[in-house]
């Protein structure tokens, strides 16, 4: 496929119950300003909804923003579900308040990067662009 014409598409999602999506929105806008197409799903999404949206929108990247502390249950469910749907080439990144031990475990499960609070958006954008799998 023509690589030049292919835009990077990112799904920014907020699974779980916490109601703060300011961080997710800031990251979504940063991706847009870097020339990517961003689908923002809004609050309180289930892993099933997130993966279905990722599938239909044919995204390259799923960004999960989790502040509720439920990352240890939510992230593995998203990853399992992505695999079930055959979306193995979708890159997953996670943002939020996540202890280093947990972050290491998430990376083992296949999360490409975990961004803590205060990570400059430019760093997130650059990392995403550099690591997204070209297809």
């Amino acid at each position: 496929m023509d690589v030049l014409q292919r835009k990077i598409r990112v799904l920014v999602a907020k699974p779980g119950l916490d109601g703060h999506d300011r961080g997710a929105k800031v990251v979504a806008r940063a991706y847009r300003d870097a020339g990517m197409e961003v689908i923002y799903t809004g609050l309180h999404q289930t892993p099933e909804q997130i993966v279905e949206a990722a599938l239909q929108e044919d995204v390259d990247v799923v960004g999960l923003s989790i502040l509720s502390g439920a990352h240890n249950t939510l992230v593995p469910r998203v990853i399992d579900r992505l695999r079930q749907e055959g979306l193995n080439d979708v890159m997953v990144v996670v943002g939020g308040i996540i202890p280093e031990d947990d972050a290491a475990r998430l990376r083992e499960l296949g999360v490409k990067a975990v961004f803590g609070p205060g990570t400059p958006t430019q760093e997130i954008v650059d990392f995403t662009r550099d690591h997204v799998r070209s297809r």
Partner: protein, 311 residues
């Protein structure tokens, strides 16, 4: 047929998603795909929804998609949002939210990618793919601004113009555009004061356009409460059943085909000439036109001559 085309036909959701990306990228593979599938795209009813930002289009689309899926039918939704002219990126925030992903509903957000009219350049292809994948209804939500409202007509069998109470002045200002393209009018947010007045205003403005326009259906809805959705669906369905309107759909598809043939041919000719005229030829002509040494049509004729003689 290619494997991808077969997979789209069989209703494979992931194949459909990939196929739409392919069409968005305007590649040669995309053309082959659409050529294979075009013959299977006649049966779906394509409904465009347009109207100013904030009138409730997305909420209505959500309600329509749910109601239609509940009746056992399959719905494709295409939601179009503008790309940023500066970065080329886009924030596609309007994806409607089915509580449980319903296998009968497929939703895809499209960015305009710099296409002037606002309607995605690849929209025709995306609609065709949704139809070939077996969706009975394809709903297209367009950014409600200026030209795109008119452009949606070149893709939709039926155009729904969405308004809300208190927009009387908007309609006035926009009369030519909005009043002439609507096959159905919806006054959403009927829970707000002034809905009946808005209905009357639309009715009287329509009757000023011409006698036939005076009969265009106007439905009141409260999208957030699901009120009026069934009536709107019935009006949409009636459009597909009523023979007179089916004729309209037929002649509209002829007009659309005419326009799309013209567009496709123009694009091919330009691409062929750019590649065959030799390096720098096109750019030189552009400079000459800008400097007023050549007129645009004269330059075009000049560029076209060798191609036509060769054919």
């Amino acid at each position: 047929m290619t494997e991808l085309a077969l997979a789209v036909r069989s209703g494979d959701r992931r194949a459909l998603a990939r196929a739409i990306s392919l069409v968005e990228s305007q590649s040669e593979d995309a053309h082959r795909l659409l050529a294979d599938l075009w013959q299977y795209t006649a049966a779906s009813l394509v409904v465009g929804l347009t109207g100013a930002p904030g009138v409730g289009k997305s909420t209505l689309v959500d309600g329509l998609a749910r109601a239609y899926a509940k009746a056992g039918r399959r719905v494709g939704v295409l939601a179009i949002d503008p790309s940023s002219p500066f970065s080329g990126g886009a924030l596609l925030g309007d994806r409607i939210r089915m509580d449980d992903p319903d296998p009968r509903v497929f939703i895809r957000s499209l960015a305009t990618r710099g296409h002037l009219g606002g309607v995605n350049r690849a929209l025709g292809g995306a609609i065709a793919l949704m139809a070939a994948a077996g969706h009975d209804l394809v709903l297209v939500e367009t950014v409600g601004a200026g030209q795109s409202e008119v452009e949606i007509m070149s893709h939709a069998d039926l155009t729904v113009v969405v308004l809300m109470p208190g927009l009387g002045d908007d309609i006035q200002a926009n009369k030519a555009g909005i009043l002439e393209i609507g096959d159905l009018f919806v006054v959403n947010k009927a829970d707000l004061p002034g809905a009946d007045l808005t209905v009357r205003e639309i009715r009287s403005m329509l009757s000023l356009v011409d006698k036939e326009r005076a009969l265009v259906p106007i439905t009141k809805t409260i999208a957030t409460q699901g009120e009026g959705i069934d009536a709107l669906l019935a009006a949409i369905d009636a459009f597909g059943r009523n023979p007179e309107e089916r004729m309209l759909q037929h002649s509209r598809r002829l007009q659309q085909a005419d326009r799309r043939l013209g567009e496709a041919l123009a694009e091919l000719v330009v691409a062929k000439i750019k590649s065959s005229a030799g390096p720098g030829h096109w750019e030189a002509a552009v400079e000459q036109i800008a400097a007023r040494r050549l007129d645009p049509e004269g330059a075009a004729r000049e560029l076209l001559r060798p191609t036509i003689e060769e054919a």
